[in-house]
């Protein structure tokens, strides 16, 4: 089985979110970048396939040279090889189109993406990629097993879950549950050393087919300070929630 894991290079959650150039660009100054958490769950599941069923795992990122440390980390965790499509990602459709080219060239059986990235929260690349390839697609995936040419998947739905079956090739939008947090791997020294010599192939972008662009960023309005209510005066809390906040 050939697996492609698509990873995004995103600011760590604890990063300060600031903008520059008259609020038209994200300020990367002092920001620590990581593998997008939803993607890392999928990467870990792919490594399990490799260890238990003998899969070959390639990671791919659409990004500039600055994303290579993040890609190397994925190699250190256990991916066999990596591809970087040399382009600045500005739109989900553009990224999906570049990834579709990678999939067509590589002949992958299973493509695992995170269901959404933590920076732009678009949640569109996996579905668009599947549609462009006309592959089957399962989103919000919290479990996957593959036997022969068939996958059994569990998808989270509002208020429950469902079980699905799909033939390969298949695109999956993964999230926590596809593996659990405790299953995530911290690269060990051997992994880090071997990652240095694994192939990281740079491919040029095939085009720049965008359908959206961000024109401006805004920060939320500053929040007023919390109103503290004494534990001995909870009638006041009920009153505030009813008359002031109007939520009960």
């Amino acid at each position: 089985m050939k697996i492609l894991v698509c990873i995004s290079h995103v600011p760590d959650t604890t990063s300060k979110i600031n903008f520059v150039n008259d609020d038209t660009a994200f300020d990367t100054n002092g920001v620590q970048f990581v593998i997008n958490p939803n993607d890392e769950f999928g990467l870990t599941r792919a490594i399990w396939f490799k260890e238990k069923q003998g899969a070959n795992v390639t990671v791919v990122n659409v990004g500039g040279p600055d994303t290579e440390p993040t890609i190397r980390k994925a190699l250190a965790i256990g991916a066999d090889e990596a591809i970087r499509v040399n382009a600045t990602p500005t739109d989900g459709f553009q990224v999906a189109k570049e990834l579709a080219e990678v999939v067509k060239n590589g002949g992958y059986d299973l493509v695992i993406c995170g269901k959404e990235s933590l920076d732009y929260n678009g949640g569109m690349v996996p579905g668009m990629l599947a549609s462009l390839l006309n592959y089957n697609f399962v989103n919000s995936c919290i479990g996957i097993e593959v036997e022969g040419n068939e996958a059994t998947l569990i998808r989270e739905i509002d208020g429950g879950k469902e079980t699905l079956k799909s033939a390969l090739p298949l695109v999956v939008g993964g999230q926590k549950g596809i593996v659990e947090e405790k299953d995530l791997r911290i690269p060990n020294m051997r992994g880090i050393m071997s990652a240095r010599t694994k192939a990281l192939n740079v491919m040029e972008a095939t085009g720049n087919d965008t359908k959206t662009k961000v024109v401006k960023f805004e920060r939320p309005a500053p929040k007023s300070a919390v109103k503290l209510v004494s534990p001995d005066n909870l009638d006041e809390l009920v009153n505030l929630l009813h008359n002031e906040a109007k939520v009960i």
């Binding site: 739905i157 079980t163 965008t210 109103k227 909870l234």
Partner: protein
């Protein structure tokens, strides 16, 4: 060139998020000088939509669509959009709608903006404000394609009643076998319980509750308020509560009207997941807990004393209101 919405229903009833979407679409249609068409799937009584601004309903009845299937539903939405010549196609932010929306966008060669939180900033060029960076910022996204697909963030616009009734028309889109290539084998859904996705109020417990045996008061508080119960990540990691209750960045997102956090310190990953909630109440015995910085109302005190008292006060309030 109407605005098309996919009006999702659950067990024959439209969800509040669908009515919110209809209200939103009405305003967008007005600014574009056009009308709203809704496409419904296997929903018997669709009349309610007219009260929220929908002018026309394309009613699809097809038992192949009894179980949600993203590709097939996306095909239905695409064909409805083409029939109506829709330039704007909008969906809610339910798990199912967000599953179908990117497929719809590719099928219509359209740009797509999710997490939209307000009416378009401008309709020419077409620009919308959306949540980004896990609710820590907004961006204004311009959709440059001819057809635009939007997903409206839950609880961002509100439900607005309008006068009028919608004209209903049966619609039978042509579906093919490849639409059903992913087979739904089994659906497990909790019934008779408020889900985190639909809840107006969410009551959430953290490690400060000391153990799963203490969740009775959280459930009782939720019961009194008609709320869903949730928990922080450490609580689900410790298996005190099911993983499906975990809310936060890697758990379920919450965008309720009221979020009550009991014994949750407020790690940044937790806040990222619940920050779209309108009003946040924190009950914690540590006045330094970071959650107080983002909360609207706070009670510094022992949860084991505060929560039972609050339940009594709320019961008295509910009895009189």
């Amino acid at each position: 060139m109407s605005v098309l919405i996919y009006a999702e229903s659950n067990e024959g009833k439209f969800k509040k998020t669908t009515l919110e979407l209809a209200s939103y679409a009405k305003k967008v249609a007005e600014s574009l000088g056009t009308t709203v068409t809704a496409v419904t799937v296997n929903t018997e009584d669709v009349s309610e939509l007219g009260k929220y601004g929908v002018d026309k309903i394309l009613k699809v009845s097809n038992n192949q669509l009894d179980k949600f299937n993203a590709k097939a539903y996306a095909d239905v939405i695409k064909q409805a959009a083409e029939k109506e010549g829709a330039k704007v196609v909008a969906v809610t932010s339910t798990t199912n709608s967000l599953y179908a929306a990117p497929i719809v966008a590719v099928n219509l060669n359209a740009g797509y903006a999710s997490n939209v939180v307000a009416l378009p900033v401008s309709t020419s060029p077409f620009q919308v404000k959306r949540n980004a960076f896990s609710n820590k910022a907004f961006d204004v996204t311009e959709i440059t394609s001819d057809v635009k697909v939007l997903a409206l963030a839950k609880n961002s616009f509100g439900v607005v009643e309008a006068s009028g009734a919608a004209a209903t028309e049966d619609f039978a889109p042509a579906l093919n076998d490849s639409d059903f290539a992913v087979k739904v084998e089994n659906v497990e859904k909790v019934t008779g319980k408020v889900t985190i996705a639909d809840a107006e109020i969410v009551v959430s417990g953290g490690r400060g509750l000391k153990g799963p045996e203490n969740w009775g008061m959280i459930e009782e508080l939720a019961d009194v308020l008609g709320a869903a119960t949730a928990c922080s990540k450490p609580v689900s990691d410790l298996d005190w509560r099911p993983h499906s209750e975990h809310v936060g960045q890697t758990g379920k997102p919450v965008a309720s009207n009221l979020y009550i956090a009991v014994g949750i310190s407020g790690a940044i990953q937790h806040i990222a997941g619940i920050n779209a909630s309108k009003v946040k109440v924190v009950i914690n015995n540590d006045p330094e807990a970071p959650f107080f910085k983002v909360a609207d109302y706070g009670v510094v005190g022992d949860a084991f004393e505060v929560v039972p008292k609050l339940i009594e006060k709320l019961k008295a309030f509910k009895a009189n209101n």
